[in-house]
Symmetry: C2
Subunit: 259 residues, 2 copies
C-alpha cells in the first residue's frame, strides 16, 4: 500500500496534488524543487521537509511523484539512479516509458485539470488517468488515486496524449478567449463581470447539450453583416481581427460541412 | 407600466425571453414569426395567439419586442408603420436608431446570454442592457426588466456593440473549442465526459482570478516540445493544426508582451 510519498516538483500541479494527498491522509516525506524558495514554500504548506539538491531526495518513500516540466523529466530520472523505486510522473504528454530505465515499478498519474498554486481545488471529481508497467502496480496506484478522487481511469499513453491535446482546446484556448474578452471590455471601460453569467452558462450548457448543438451567435447563423461589423470594430488590433476571422471561418465551415 | 407584450420573432432569444416574461406575470398578446410553424410552436409554449402575416401583428400591446435576425429588423420596421408604438429590439449589434422613424418610444433590450430553444434558463442573473430614446421610456423599460432580472444596466449603442463582440469571444468561440475537443475525443474513442470537470473549473476559476492569471498549459509555459508534439498529432487535420498554432502563438505573445 502506498502511504509515504516524495514529491519532486513544486509547481501548480505538485502544489495542488500535494495538498490533496496530505488532506486525504498520505504522508508527504519531502518536497524537492530546483529552487530553494519554491521547495520551501510548498514544504511549509505541507508541513514537511524539503531539499533543492537532487542528491538529497528521499528515496525511501512508497512512491516518488515527479511533477515537473515535461522537458525536465528525462534529466531528473538520470539523477535518481536507484533501481528499486516506485515512480510516476504526472504529465499528459510524456510517455510512461521515459521512467523505464531506472525503476522496477513505473507509471503515470495524470489528473485532467487546470491547477494554479493560488487556487484550492477539490480533487474528488477530477478524472485521474493511470497507467502502470504491471497489473500489481496499477492496482496500488488505483487504490491510492481512489482515496482522493471518485473518477479514476486506466488510460494508456497514446490516449492520454490525445486527451491532453483536447484539454488544451477545452481549457487553455478557452481561457485565452476569456482573457481577450476581458481586455476588450477593459479597453472600453466596461466590467468583465458583465460577461460572467454568460461564461458560466456557456460551460453549464454543454454538460447537457453537445457543444455542436449548443452553438449560437453570428458565425452559427452565417450572419455576415454582424461579422463584418465586428471585424470593423477590431480594425485597430490586427491580431485580434485575424483571430476573430479565423475562428469564425472555422465555425462556419463546421456547420456547412454538416448540412 | 408595461404589461401587455407582442413578441416579433420565435427564435432562441424570443423563445427564452417569452417564457421568462410569461413566468413573471406579463401578458404575451401574440407571437409573430414569418413561418407558421415556428409562430405556432412558440405561441403554444406561451399559451397565446400567433400570426405569420405582418399585417395582422397586434400593435395594441404596451410594448412590441422585435427579436429577429439583425438583418431583418429594418425590413420589419418598415412593415409596422404605426406612429404610436413603444418598441424595442433585442440585438447586441444593431443601433437603437434603426427604430427611430416609426415609433415615439424606442429602445433596446439586450440580454447578455447564449439562449437555445431547447434549454430553459433562469433570467434572474442575466445582465440586461437597456437603452431608450427618453428618460421616461427608459424608466418603464427598467421597471419591466427588473421584474425578470436583478442585473439591469443602461448601456448605450457603442458600448453594447463592444459587449456583443466580447461575448462572441467568451461564448461562441469558447463553445467552438468545446466542439473541437469533443470531436478530437470522439475520433479517438474517448468520452467527452472526461473533459467536463476541467471545463467547469476553467469557467469557475475566472470568477475569482483574472483569466490572465488563471492561464496554464504548454503555451503559457513556453513549452515548445509539447506544442510540437501536439502539432504532430494534428498533422492529419490541417485546419485544426492551423488553429492550434494560431491560438498558441497568441497566448505566447500575450505573455511575452507583458513580461
Amino acid at each position: 500500500m502506498i502511504q509515504k510519498i516524495t514529491l519532486i516538483g513544486a509547481g501548480n500541479l505538485a502544489t495542488c496534488l500535494g495538498k490533496s494527498l496530505k488532506k486525504n491522509g498520505f504522508d508527504i516525506l519531502q518536497v524537492y524543487s530546483h529552487t530553494e524558495e519554491s521547495a520551501k514554500t510548498l514544504a511549509e504548506k505541507l508541513n514537511t521537509k524539503y531539499t533543492y539538491n537532487t542528491k538529497d531526495i528521499d528515496l525511501s518513500a512508497d512512491l516518488i511523484i515527479i511533477s515537473i516540466k515535461d522537458d525536465a523529466i528525462g534529466e531528473m530520472i538520470d539523477k535518481i539512479k536507484h533501481k528499486n523505486l516506485k515512480i510516476v510522473h504526472t504529465s499528459g504528454s510524456v510517455s510512461m516509458q521515459i521512467l523505464k530505465t531506472h525503476s522496477y515499478c513505473y507509471g503515470v498519474f495524470y489528473p485532467i485539470m487546470t491547477l494554479s498554486k493560488n487556487r484550492d481545488i477539490d480533487f474528488s471529481d477530477i478524472p485521474i488517468c493511470l497507467e502502470a508497467n504491471s497489473d500489481d502496480f496499477l492496482s496500488e496506484l488505483k487504490e491510492m488515486a481512489e482515496r482522493i478522487s471518485s473518477q479514476v481511469f486506466e488510460i494508456h499513453s497514446k490516449e492520454r496524449k490525445i486527451l491532453h491535446m483536447a484539454a488544451v482546446f477545452a481549457n487553455n484556448f478557452v481561457n485565452h478567449f476569456y482573457d481577450i474578452s476581458e481586455n476588450i471590455l477593459k479597453e472600453n471601460g466596461l466590467s468583465f463581470d458583465l460577461l460572467k453569467p454568460l461564461i458560466k452558462e456557456t460551460a453549464s450548457k454543454i454538460m447537457e447539450l453537445s457543444p455542436h448543438d449548443a452553438q449560437t451567435g453570428p458565425a452559427r447563423r452565417f450572419d455576415k453583416s454582424i461579422i463584418n461589423r465586428h471585424l470593423k470594430l477590431l480594425e485597430n488590433n490586427p491580431k485580434r481581427e485575424k483571430i476573430y476571422r479565423f475562428v469564425t471561418d472555422s465555425i462556419i465551415s463546421s456547420y456547412k460541412e454538416n448540412k
